[in-house]
């Protein structure tokens, strides 16, 4: 049986739609519950949401997400508390729930091969482990297959063609295509990823989501010209942080920005 994430993308491809996948940091900002933000981005037009587990040393993240994670940890947010909140909200949530979690955090959950079962139990549909490359993916993929959860693996700009093919083969969810090198966060201009998306599509049927540095509807439009989905992380986290600082309603801000970004998906007409 295909998982929820695969089904979401299959339906979207059939209807010639593109998808938006926001990233949020669990437990951030303090002013709103995780469930309220997840529901808000769903109302705003997200097809799935990536829930980041706060980690003390997220080397793949830029300052926006790293400081959100440090803030959440400082307020006592633990992996166990994130799992509990997801479990509690799962019944009310239709969109896909994807865990974005470091190997460092998965390892204490009974080891890399047993951790996926814990995520499934909470209600996650897929997981992304940004610091497990292909070479180290064996135990994770085995555990995820056993638990029935999809694994989305990453392809970077320096990833060679053969390696990218192998990564796409190992992926059971979507392929996360990094729009550029470096860490998460906005950098103004977004280089075209169309060629890389088409190369990937020539070797895999798996859906392709583009992330890193996508912050505006125009960049969403650009990223999804050929790809199935766009991922927006730092821009949303920064927006929620700013809303909280101003004393605004955080879920309202989350829904509003998601809706604006989702506007960038409507470019087809084919």
């Amino acid at each position: 049986m295909p998982g929820r994430i695969s089904t979401i993308f299959e339906n979207a491809r059939r209807e010639n739609r593109r998808c938006l996948m926001p990233f949020i940091c669990a437990g951030y900002p303090a002013q709103a519950s995780l469930a309220s933000i997840v529901k808000a981005v769903a109302r705003g037009g997200a097809s799935a949401v990536e829930i980041g587990f706060p980690y003390s040393d997220p080397v793949a993240d830029g300052p926006v997400i790293a400081s959100a994670m440090h803030d959440a940890i400082g307020r006592g947010v633990t992996p166990a508390s994130v799992l509990e909140q997801v479990k509690a909200m799962r019944g009310d949530i239709e969109i896909g729930l994807i865990a974005m979690v470091s190997a460092s955090i998965l390892h204490p959950m009974g080891g890399l091969s047993n951790a996926p079962a814990r995520l499934v139990e909470a209600g996650f549909d897929a997981l992304i482990v940004p610091d497990i490359p292909l070479e180290e993916s064996g135990p994770l993929l085995e555990g995820a297959a056993r638990a029935g959860v999809e694994v989305c693996m990453l392809v970077g700009p320096a990833t060679g063609r053969e390696r990218a093919t192998n990564i796409a083969k190992a992926t059971t969810g979507f392929v996360y295509l990094l729009a550029r090198a470096g860490v998460t966060g906005e950098q103004g201009r977004l280089d075209s990823v169309d060629l890389r998306v088409e190369q990937l599509k020539s070797v895999t049927q798996a859906p392709i989501a583009v992330g890193f540095g996508i912050a505006t509807p125009e960049q969403v439009r650009q990223a999804t010209a050929k790809a199935d989905a766009a991922i927006v992380g730092s821009a949303l986290v920064a927006h929620l942080s700013e809303a909280a600082r101003r004393g605004e309603d955080v879920p309202v801000a989350a829904e509003a920005l998601t809706r604006v970004l989702a506007g960038g998906l409507n470019h087809m007409g084919v």
């Binding site: 080397v59 990564i167 090198a181």
Partner: protein
Amino acid sequence: MSESTAARGPTAPPDKIEPVRLSDAPDEAGRYGVYGGAYVPETLAPALAQLREAYTAARADREFWDDLKSLLKTFVGRATPLYLAQRLTQHARGSGRAGKEATGASIWLKREDMAHTGAHKINNTLGQAMLAMRMGKKRVIAETGAGQHGVATATAAAHFGLACDVYMGAEDARRQRLNVARMRMLGARVIEVETGTRTLKDATNEAMRDWMGSADQTHYILGSVVGPHPFPMIVRDFQSIIGRETMAQSLRLMGRLPECIVACVGGGSNAAGIFFPFLENIKVQLVGVEAGGRGPAMGEHAASLTCGTPGILHGSMSYVLQDEHGQTAPAHSCSAGLDYPGVGPEHSNWKDSGRVRYTTRTDDEALDAFQLLCRTEGIIPALETSHAIAEGVQLASAMPAESNLVICLSGRGDKDVDEVVRLLSMNSTSGGTGIVMPRPTQ
């Protein structure tokens, strides 16, 4: 499986199961037993593959090692001496059990403090800078705690004409101002890191983040036997010259191998370097000394092997100071170079195998040992090294008189003088912590 067993075919039972030799690690995947590996974002995987390839080629290239050897001789001043510390030995013998005549090993110091730039770090940075050039990279970056690795990287960069940026925690930059000035003088840019605990762990995070966006033009000169494969292996190999020299010098000066070798362990590069060539000489006792800081409570020390649990930090599986959820715990040591919540994966394997014994010495014990070496031998040691001196003196005092103990004097302490003065004055104003300067009996 040994070749002879394989040759007898699959039906013949082996005479005995041959254990994997510790010195054969790592395997192809960068594993030291269950430790090591390369837990890195995909963005870095191609850069690590390139590094593995470049190092494999360099390792088999006679010319590479000849060039490095020549540089280590003429630029670094190797071989560093193995020095018999007579007055320190006498002090240790005096502090041994009273009434027992002629107890206490001779204490020898492997003088890495006499290597150019004042520490063992230069052995690694020259080798890695040469690898950088083989890969056609014109810029190097580094993390640094005490600043010794930063200075050694800046030095190698200046020597070869490479651009150099060094990440250093803001707290460490305060503690090690002299080294910050040295790096800048050598033409490096020092980037002070204000995030997290503002020490070595955070400097390492920032260096890795830099490398994620710059790997096509930049080589990351990691300073210890930590990080993703192949770094722990490369750094160990470049530092093993310490152990190889010690072995040859011991045979020449003592007529045999020493009974015991003691080295401090933060990430563990000087210890890995001096221990590695002795691994299969099981009669040589190997002792690694971690920073016991202010005591055994979490957050008060940097003793990853002694108090930590297996986890993943900075790209490899190893003992880590962490909470039960995998969040890295804060570390503390008076010495910036040991103030790190992780340790090299090979040390984790050596610990589990029992081949190396790991122990701790506190801030106060290190400060005492610092002063002791100054006054008995006229050598100002690094605070990192002082932890090994504290352990070595006590171990030596209980050993037979005809035995020999080697302490890896990993670095000189000029950089620490300000900090030691500050710590000693704090100790004296708070009522004293028993910092008594034992005068050697003479």
